[in-house]
């Protein structure tokens, strides 16, 4: 097919052609970046978190008398265990995605003193006996804590427990000892605290992202403590998912009755996770909406413009048909025209998309967009263009040759 006439026809309609090219280019740029951002956000929302997310509830008890912590905790744990349907109970200082960050730093070098550059920031989870079962941690290597390790852990007046055993996540193990097994290695903090890694578990997320990348989001350390610490407020109650809501209500009810002076609050872990990602989720939906409306607007724009061109050229089409052009020729003429316009648009659009990504990387903590987003975006707009032009083009191909004779 000869495309020269198409070019000369487009040159006659320079302004509308430019406009539609710009529209497609902008749509391509926005689409590539928006889809990339949606992908990143879905990746965040789906970050793996190897605990029993469907069965856990968290009951937080605050404002109890620290001098009686030992008795209060023992009583609370016993009360929670007695609730029918409860499978395991433990006490923790904070829970994943709760936004209540307990961050600390460890180094593999025993010689450093203050928090210096060799320290790797990590979330510190303190758990009491049975915490592995209450959370539903997945052991990858090694073992969980023994009873004597739990008993040896107390905080005293520090953030860090006494005791010398730690269970760490796979991603933290890989960060501290890349290429080596972490089992039996020692984590140091100052000259006072050191913990031997006895077990490695599948990745558990931190209470909050704390400014790190996706990998450091699951840098977590579990340390065993005895159930005596007033600094620990989060009771982990695990049950079957069907029992969860009932168990949570009963837990809040029983604990508030036990101690009216305390502030008792409870949430299912699903709620905690949903709340953490609420912003991310609404942004993802907003991006999806923008993409959908934008594609619709672009498609309708192409439909409208092609329809007008078809209407404008009815006579020419009639003449072409009269002198021997088949319907297929007419159809292909409009399809080719649209293809040329779309090609110009996506060529410009891919450059724009790349530029926008560079700008966003500089100003909005965006990652680099993988190259394949560009051709995918281009292909999408090509398809949208072809799809939109199909209707008007078919109508054009149905113009009977007799039209040519009528108005001459």
């Amino acid at each position: 097919m000869n495309i020269r006439p198409i070019f000369s026809s487009l040159r006659k309609h320079r302004i509308p052609t430019t406009l539609i090219v710009l529209e497609i280019a902008l749509a391509c740029a926005v689409l590539c970046n928006a889809v990339f951002m949606i992908g990143q956000r879905i990746g965040d929302i789906r970050l793996p978190n190897a605990i029993d997310q469907a069965g856990i509830s968290v009951v937080t008890v605050q404002g109890t008398d620290p001098d009686h912590a030992r008795d209060v905790i023992a009583r609370n744990l016993a009360t929670l265990r007695a609730i029918p349907g409860v499978q395991a109970v433990a006490l923790m200082n904070t829970v994943p995605l709760s936004q209540n960050g307990w961050n600390t730093g460890f180094t593999t070098d025993p010689a450093t003193k203050g928090f210096d550059d060799k320290y790797v920031n990590v979330a510190e989870y303190l758990i009491t006996s049975g915490g592995d079962k209450a959370l539903g941690l997945h052991l990858f290597r090694g073992r969980f804590f023994h009873a004597d390790e739990y008993a040896a852990g107390t905080l005293g007046t520090s953030f860090m427990p006494t005791g010398h055993a730690a269970v760490i996540t796979r991603s933290f193990a890989a960060r501290m000892w890349p290429g080596h097994s972490a089992l039996g290695k020692v984590l140091y903090m100052g000259d006072t605290y050191s913990y031997t890694v006895v077990g490695i578990v599948d990745n558990v997320l931190r209470p909050n992202r704390n400014g790190g990348d996706a990998r450091s989001f699951s840098h977590s350390v579990f340390l065993p403590v005895a159930p005596v610490e007033s600094a620990m407020n989060d009771y982990i109650v695990r049950s079957a998912p069907v029992d969860r809501d009932r168990v949570l209500r009963a837990s809040i009810d029983k604990l508030s009755k036990l101690e009216p002076a305390a502030v008792v609050k409870g949430r299912t872990f699903s709620d905690i996770r949903n709340a953490y990602f609420a912003d991310t989720r609404s942004m993802a939906w907003m991006l999806v909406l923008v993409c959908a409306v934008m594609i619709a607007v672009t498609a309708f724009g192409i439909v409208g413009l092609s329809s007008f061109w078809v209407g404008q050229r009815r006579r020419q089409i009639g003449i072409r048909r009269a002198v021997g052009a088949t319907r297929g020729h007419i159809l292909r003429y409009f399809q080719t025209e649209n293809f040329l316009i779309s090609s110009l648009g996506v060529a410009l659009g891919m450059i724009l998309a790349y530029g926008a990504n560079l700008y966003l990387m500089q100003h909005y903590e965006m990652a680099r967009m993988p190259w394949y987003f560009l051709p995918i975006g281009a292909l999408t707009l090509w398809l949208i263009g072809q799809f939109s032009v199909l209707g008007p083009a078919l109508r054009a191909s149905n113009v009977p040759p007799v039209v040519a004779t009528r108005s001459v």
């Binding site: 529209e23 009216p260 609420a278 409306v293 672009t298 409208g304 007008f308």
Partner: protein, 441 residues
Amino acid sequence: MFAYYLQLGLRSLRRNSVLTALMVLAIAVGIGAAMTTLTVMHLLSGDPLPGRSAHIFYPQVDATPAGYTGTPPHPMDMLDYRSAVDLWRAHHADRQALVADSPVKLQAPESKGPPRMLTMLSTTAGFFPMFKVPFQYGSAWTPADDEGRARVAVISSYLNNRLFGGADSVGHMLLLRNTAVRIVGVLAPWRPSPQFYDVRGGRYAQGNTASFYSRTEDVFTPFFSSLQINDGHFQQFSCWAMPKKPGHLVDSPCAWVGLWVQLDTPAKIHAYRRFIANYARHQKALGRFANTDTRMMSLMQWLAFNHVVPSNVKLQAWLAFAFLAICLFNTVGLLLAKFLRRAGEIGVRRALGASRGAVFSQCLTEAGLIGLVGGLGGLLLTLLGLWIVRHQDTPYADLVHLDLSMLVVTFVLALLVSLLAGTLPALRASRIAPALQLKTL
């Protein structure tokens, strides 16, 4: 004449009602999206202390202890206790206030409600006049209460409504952890956007800064009193080494206190910069500081430094404007095609004596109609968009509303968009040569 053009325009628009609806909808959606995000941006990036923010400063010194081997950011976003109190006690500014947050358990013995955990702001008497905090009942505590470690508190209007049903609660007692404090003042509703005096650490937030727009704290207590009331529950911004006892941060190697000062003249600003520089040099000479870096930003500089506007909000604004541009290109292209299709008709009118100006204004009337209706639709969609934002689970949701200035901007934008969309096609249509068109009729 205009009425006649209007009639012609309406007739022409009715002839292609689906297309007209599409053009109107495109403009409406574009304006709705752009104005919703722009309004949110406008509300979040405003000046929390209009007219006063230029006099409010956040002095910082690098309190890294001598002998520390790491490389922390110089200086940290907050001060250590000793530097903060030294600078505050010097009273070199027109007004000054220390700030520190901590979670506290609160009970109101007179109301039977359950105890609650909330955030307490520990500050000094200068806070209230410096930030022109409005009072509904009572007043702030006095500087003497600061020094005397008085057991007094100021509560927010939100908490007063919850505990006392909005009645004047001055003189009533509250239980903060285990200490009884007397209410001396109740704030009128006060909702600075952002909650500027607690802004810090924005550099590390990766754009997730929505929490800077939370409500203010519900309890305000004198700084030194609260150190006793809530000992063991203070939270550090960051530490150079482990504090001996967590939550007890007085004289710990931690940054956890903010200092705000009011400096009314350029001379005083200059003098205060010199003052903190001298202080840092002096502390280094004494062997307490490792460095002598200082920094003092004005309130708005500090907010910009912390990138207070959440990056999601800024991204949405970019997206919305790209979207508006797409809608605009779309409408211009369609109008142009539409007018040019009527070239024959325009040719006849020109041949019968219509001037270029007449054709131009006729086409512009038609385009303006689309823009106007689209703009009105855009306004409605903006209201809908803001309603949706208000029902989102974000700290700034309750701040979102369409104020007068943004309403005006919406109308101006709608007008601008419709003119932009109309001018080019109308101009092109008015330049149609009549002879050429008549020949082809």
